[in-house]
Symmetry: C2
Subunit: 172 residues, 2 copies
DNA sequence: ATATTCTTTCAATTATTATTGAAAGTTCAG
DNA sequence: CTGAACTTTCAATAATAATTGAAAGAATAT
């Protein structure tokens, strides 16, 4: 297989994976393209390679920057912007984990907290209420577990990142 | 808060969560409804409570059964079918993990395996090819890690999960 | 100040995905 | 077998989400 074909397959596969995880196909493809590009790409490069519009590139690139997995790169003497992806896949996973925890886990935990304070009422039997609170409590305990697991992974990765960074700073 | 309101909020919240994870809102809501219902529900019950059509209920309930998190319940002397959700949320998580590994991780690993065999060619420099294979190798190694982590979690029994893993995850 | 080059926005359009509902299929009692 | 009760399918429709492209906005050079 040749390089160009391999790159296309990766972009396609990454796009499919993304859509299974609630990320739009194009956003995942822009990410994949930046991952397989050794150099930072301009908006026009991305437009051309993925055959999508300028506005589309702009929106998706900014969303990827929001996730923290793509950076803007400015070159001296160049007006236009270039974009490059975080290549350390471990760090990519951590950043995504971090964002998803904030965007999804936290809201559902808030809802669970609210509804766990259900009160007995004339329209429901105590048994019904108890069954419900028991169910919610188990979901809550799982959410807590997921939350602390995520914290630990994020912290572990930060340590790892910091240590490699420190090594870089103090060569020898 | 009263029970009915609490149930509605849970169904709504679960639906929102689902759509962030690539599960259709309605499918997640059917699942939530079954989670908060002490007894198994018929197709008509679900239609009425979620205000959706018969065909819609049928499709989503079958998808949930494919995931292994909803069961059909037959009652002697009753022609129609009743449905109930797996209430052990840990088991729900395991079953979902299992399915997602099969449906998503395996395909991307296959693609990665194929494209890692990229050959040098006239249209690309050895440096480009090397950068690409290096990137792919790191994604592969991460996918392998994710895959074996999933395996371990799936295989692990509940006791191990709760005691050992919780301790591991607890920041010290 | 004006032109130039690039970025951003957003209403309109297009594409994708979910939903409906009626018809066909199934099962079973009589 | 026939009819009643229920389930499944699927083409049509509706709802949602992504995409475009042109116009407005920014930044810099002349």
């Amino acid at each position: 297989m040749q390089l160009d074909e391999a790159k296309s397959k990766f972009i396609e596969g990454w796009g499919t994976l993304g859509s299974a995880w609630g990320v739009s196909r194009t956003m995942a493809q822009v990410h994949a393209l930046l991952l397989v590009s050794p150099n930072a790409l301009s908006t026009e490069d991305i437009m051309e390679q993925l055959q999508i519009s300028r506005g589309n590139v702009n929106m998706n690139v900014r969303a990827l920057m929001d996730w923290g997995i793509v950076r803007k790169e400015l070159r001296p003497g160049e007006r236009r912007e270039f974009f490059s992806a975080e290549k350390d896949i471990h760090r990519v996973a951590t950043l995504i984990l971090q964002e998803r925890r904030k965007r999804e886990l936290e809201p559902i935990m808030r809802v669970l907290g609210e509804i766990s304070q259900v009160e007995p009422s004339p329209t429901s039997t105590p048994e019904e209420t108890e069954a419900f609170t028991k169910m919610i409590a188990s979901v809550q305990s799982f959410a807590n577990f997921a939350n602390s697991a995520a914290s630990t992974l994020i912290k572990a990765d930060e340590n790892w990142f910091l240590s490699t960074f420190m090594k870089l700073m103090r060569p020898g």
